[in-house]
């Protein structure tokens, strides 16, 4: 979604009023006003709920399976609760900050707080002039992006962060990190968009953003007791596998939905979301084999997610071969980030949110500046300035996002710490957050 936002508000109301006053002029205005396309609308509604499925139950199961059984419910609850919170905050002030009228390059305005002025007759522009979708659909679609991004961040801090701290962190983080970056990338006057950054479905906004935030959050929070000496194997890779499948299916809403229309661009994004992801999964297992290990189920799942992450900015900005190449490179880089870099530096990014989403997002964002080229099968037109210039823009976007996310996360975590203490007690950590924080057990045999 590189170019959204020319939101045409109140088209119906305005034209009706005008009709009464001066019919001839009003008729001309009515033909110029964007028309809601029912096919596009149906596809965008479908895409929106597909993204919701990525979160609950997709991400909840993907993350949940990776923790120890005593923390399963806490992960599912945290993911679900921040997702729900993000929805309310989105209609409260998030949509307005990201996509409101006017504003500057960093945030829009507060003109649409609590969806003021949005109604079932207002529309949001698509990439085709004169074609629109109902604004409510656009609000909902973007709402799910905010919800999944904040849920992704939690992957690094599971098994030790208080539920209350998670909720406070989520509210602040969305407000000072997510909404501004979403505006910068997708707002019509956004900083990155006006610079010409390529980010089809949110590699910067969603993945680099969540990955870097996850790293900063886990550094401040500290390691889990016993890490890395005590074994902490995933309690159910079966659930992680189910979650991975739901993520993959849901990601078609995420990527192909970012075309905002049911058209060829969406079809290209769909194609790439198949083959890029497939390449990521297979390449990760191949690297495992080459490193002298067995091709593993978790490796396959990890590689698939890396593929999904890396293809996100490239989905409609690359040909299928470019996507395969990009996701293959991302799988190799992320393999080493997760298995070598993390142990070497010793941080406890519990579920590898930084290693997979942060690193994979960076490879994807930078690589998109390469695979966009028509010479590599990408959709670049003749007016495209070329790989070199595009890479500078992409790097600047990545760098700015990293700094913004790191600073914002630091603020959000310290506020949560001041208000809640941030971390559960030693006893709760041993006993598990399911009992300690929620008073339930995931499995009663």
């Amino acid at each position: 979604m590189k170019l959204v936002s020319n939101l045409c508000r109140g088209a119906a109301g305005v034209t009706l009023a005008a009709f009464a006053a001066m019919p001839a002029w009003a008729q001309a205005a009515a033909t110029a006003a964007p028309t809601v396309n029912k096919g596009d609308t149906a596809w965008m509604m479908t895409s929106t709920v597909l993204v919701l499925m990525m979160i609950v139950p997709g991400l909840a199961l993907f993350y949940g399976g990776l923790v120890r059984s005593k923390n399963m419910l806490s992960v599912m609850t945290q993911v679900g609760a921040v997702c729900a919170l993000a929805m309310l905050i989105w209609v409260g002030w998030g949509y307005s900050m990201a996509f409101g009228d006017g504003g500057n390059a960093v945030i829009a305005s507060f003109s649409k707080v609590f969806l003021k002025g949005v109604s079932s007759s207002t529309t949001a522009a698509t990439f085709t002039t004169g074609v629109a979708i109902p604004e409510y659909v656009f609000v909902c679609f973007q709402m799910t992006f905010a919800a999944i991004t904040v849920a992704l961040v939690l992957g690094s801090v599971v098994e030790r962060m208080k539920f209350s701290a998670v909720m406070i962190f989520a509210a602040i983080w969305l407000t000072i990190v997510y909404f501004p970056i979403a505006h910068m990338v997708w707002g019509s006057n956004g900083y990155f968009l006006t610079k010409g950054a390529l980010d089809f479905a949110g590699g910067t906004v969603v993945h680099i953003n969540s990955g870097v935030s996850a790293l900063v959050a886990c550094l401040i929070l500290g390691k889990r007791i016993g890490y890395p000496h005590e074994p902490m194997p995933p309690h159910s890779l079966t659930m992680t596998g189910i979650g991975t499948g739901l993520l993959w299916v849901g990601w078609f809403g995420f990527n192909a939905g970012s075309a905002l229309e049911a058209n060829g661009s969406a079809a290209l994004a769909m194609m790439n979301t198949f083959v890029g992801t497939a390449a990521g999964g297979l390449v990760w297992m191949l690297v495992e084999k080459l490193m002298g290990h067995k091709a593993s189920a978790l490796g396959f799942c990890s590689g698939l997610v890396v593929g999904l992450v890396a293809v996100t900015p490239a989905a409609g900005n690359s040909g299928p071969l470019g996507a395969i190449g990009l996701c293959s490179v991302a799988a190799v880089v992320c393999y080493f980030a997760v298995t070598k870099l993390k142990p070497a530096l010793g941080y406890d990014d519990a579920l590898d949110t930084f290693g997979v989403h942060g690193v994979g997002g960076m490879v994807g964002a930078i690589g998109t500046g390469i695979v966009y080229s028509a010479a590599l099968g990408g959709p670049a037109g003749d007016s495209w300035p070329g790989i070199g210039k595009q890479l500078i823009v992409q790097l600047e976007t990545v760098g700015t996002t990293i700094v913004w996310a790191a600073v914002g996360t630091t603020i959000a975590i310290y506020v949560a710490k001041a208000l809640t203490g941030l971390r559960v007690s030693r006893e709760t950590e041993f006993e598990g957050l399911d009992i300690g924080e929620h008073g339930e057990r995931a499995y009663n045999y």
Binding site: S296, V338, K340, P343
Partner: protein, 112 residues
């Protein structure tokens, strides 16, 4: 009465049960267990994190029989549970002081 306690490889359970059925053993109790002997476990790797797993999954079979029958039971288990590789498990035979059938109150050999 003797208690025969056998720790075997999980995939051998069906064969052991059949062999015991062939010599008319009346009942047995099975539980999933973990342990190690000479077979020292294995290594698991999750995204590069290596864990040595010392305890490997086993099946524990418990059977109580009349004294004279114990030897045949041990023999049947040994033959059916054997693969010839390390980790096949062990069989222990213990004396049992008393047995009671809960439903009827029958005692010892009558309760088996």
């Amino acid at each position: 009465m003797k208690l025969i306690l056998a720790v075997i490889k999980p995939h051998k359970l069906e064969e052991v049960r059949e062999a015991l059925g062939d010599i008319s053993v009346q009942g047995l109790t099975v539980s999933e267990a973990r342990g190690y002997g000479r077979q020292k476990g294995h290594t698991e790797i999750y995204r590069g994190a290596e864990y040595e797993t010392n305890l490997v999954p086993k099946i524990r079979v418990e059977i109580v029989v009349e004294d004279g029958f114990a030897e045949r039971v041990v023999e049947a288990i040994q033959h059916s549970a054997r693969t010839g590789s390390i980790g096949d498990g062990k069989i222990f035979v213990l004396d049992v002081e008393q047995a009671v059938r809960i439903r009827t109150g029958e005692q010892n050999d009558d309760a088996l």
